[in-house]
């Protein structure tokens, strides 16, 4: 119990004093996950919207594969990216292994199916409900995908936040492809694992607290978006109620 309390106290001291090592690790973590999230969300939204409106042979098989990839363990993704980027791998010539880029690639691959599947669900439901009316207005499939994507933008905010949460909290993939190199590829989750194994619990705890704060902030942001959306809807309803009186 004493160790835990001491760790928390030391961790808070590190955070309040803006410890440079701590800040560097947090900054790198955020940079990797934000970049991966931007890439995964851009590709995932396009792919998810397209899968929602496109009709092609084998679509059911593609969706089954997509849903299966949701359960991909991050360490397996790390292993695949490692094999791709290793010197003897097909992408070995890039020289990305144990670098920032390798970690971004691994997290992008990890988060991409997650974003694609959730966007496909959100836009697919909208397409099922309203696609026919958009067709009636003259919208071809690609335009329907874009319009419905835009119309479901509040749901997409929640998906982006969830995707970022998944990216920043994973450890397996970045550990394998980044190598947890001090000052170069060490991020919050890999540092926590390392410091815990070394017995430097205060640093691990400080990083853990920052990580929890980031995830908490994301949840608060998500809740605020939901509340803002509900208030907008309620605003519309109250206008109707006033007009009815």
């Amino acid at each position: 119990m004493n160790t835990l309390l001491e760790s928390v106290q030391t961790a808070l001291r590190l955070i309040v004093s803006l410890d440079p090592v701590l800040l560097a690790i947090v900054g790198r973590s955020l940079a990797v996950s934000v970049t991966a999230c931007i890439l995964a969300c851009t590709l995932g939204m396009a792919a998810g919207a397209w899968l929602s409106v496109a009709a092609f042979r084998g679509k059911a098989a593609v969706l089954t594969l997509l849903n299966t990839s949701l359960a991909l363990p991050s360490v397996v993704v790390g292993l695949i990216v490692y094999l791709l980027l290793s010197h003897s791998g097909p992408l070995g010539f890039l020289g990305w292994l144990f670098s920032f880029k390798a970690m971004v690639l691994a997290q992008t691959i990890l988060v991409l199916p997650f974003v694609t599947a959730l966007v496909r669900q959100a836009v697919g439901d909208a397409e099922a409900d309203h696609g026919e009316q958009l067709r009636s207005l003259g919208a071809p499939a690609s335009m329907r995908g874009l319009l419905l994507l835009w119309d479901e933008r509040f749901a997409l905010v929640t998906i982006v936040i969830a995707a970022f949460g998944r990216a920043i909290s994973e450890v397996g993939a970045v550990m394998v492809v980044g190598g947890n190199i001090d000052g170069y590829t060490r991020v919050m989750t890999t540092a926590i694992a390392l410091e815990t194994s070394k017995g430097d619990l205060p640093m691990a705890m400080a990083l853990g607290l920052v990580l929890l704060t980031v995830v908490l902030a994301l949840n608060i942001l998500g809740a605020m978006v939901r509340r803002w959306r509900e208030q907008r809807d309620a605003g519309g309803a109250s206008i109707l109620a006033r007009e009815a009186l």
């Binding site: 409900d129 309203h130 026919e132 009316q133 958009l134 067709r135 009636s136 207005l137 003259g138 919208a139 335009m143 319009l147 835009w150 119309d151 933008r153 907008r232 809807d233 605003g235 519309g236 309803a237 206008i239 109707l240 007009e243 009815a244």
Partner: protein, 231 residues
């Protein structure tokens, strides 16, 4: 009177369900046709075939091109943007430049007396206002034919009257063809000049409106009419 829609032996199947069976129907320019029948009789499927949203499983359908007709649904879909943009979108999707589309959309909103609500988020409008907005969206495109799938079914009496008035103005002003599905026999009498009665995907009666309400009818149509009148 030239034919805008011609169906010959049209059959529509959804799996084991036969939505339309061996349908023969011709609708000429300027006609105001009401489709009546019980739920599941095929009214909506017929409208979807006429509008090109459903393909016949067999038979031949020669219909007005989709860009020269418009369709209104029972629950019109509005994007999460202003009423003006929703109307303009319909024009933009048919190739009108966005600025021009917004100008014409504003005129169409005035026609349905919704000019004041142009900037309001379309999702916050009432059912009746949404239906009027959908009419404005259709109207802006100057279609030769307007198809309506129970456009007033979920509206209160006041909104119902407003939408009906607009339908009347639409068909009178543009001399456009109007085909609408309705359970409201009063509305059918007020708006249609021809009634097509459907039962289990088949046309059982296709008569001028006066004859439909006053003349002899097949038994199921007659029973339906009695039931609807009692209700």
């Amino acid at each position: 009177m030239s034919a805008l829609f011609e169906l010959d032996g049209v059959h529509v199947r959804y799996g084991a369900v036969h939505a339309l069976r061996d349908l023969r129907l011709t609708i000429g320019a300027g006609e105001r046709v009401a489709l009546v029948g019980a739920n599941g009789s095929g009214k909506s499927t017929l409208l979807r075939v006429l509008h090109g949203l459903a393909r016949p499983s067999s038979g031949r359908a020669r219909c007005l091109p989709t860009n020269r007709q418009a369709m209104l649904f029972q629950h019109p879909y509005m994007l999460r943007t202003s009423a003006l943009n929703n109307v303009a979108l319909g024009l933009w999707l048919r190739g009108t430049a966005w600025r021009q589309a917004r100008k014409r959309a504003a005129q169409a909103l005035d026609q349905v007396e919704m000019g004041e609500l142009a900037g309001r988020n379309a999702r916050s409008l009432s059912g009746g206002q949404k239906q009027r907005l959908a009419l404005a969206r259709a109207w802006a495109q100057s279609p030769e034919a307007l198809l309506l799938d129970e456009p007033t079914a979920s509206l209160d009496p006041h909104s119902k009257r407003e939408v009906e008035n607009l339908m009347q103005r639409f068909s009178a002003g543009q001399s456009a063809t109007m085909v609408f599905a309705s359970h409201n026999l009063g509305q059918v009498q007020r708006l249609a000049d021809r009634v097509v009665y459907l039962d289990h995907g088949r046309i059982l009666a296709d008569l001028p409106v006066h004859d439909f309400f006053n003349g002899p009818l097949p038994e199921t149509a007659s029973l339906f009419l009695k039931g609807e009148r009692i209700l």
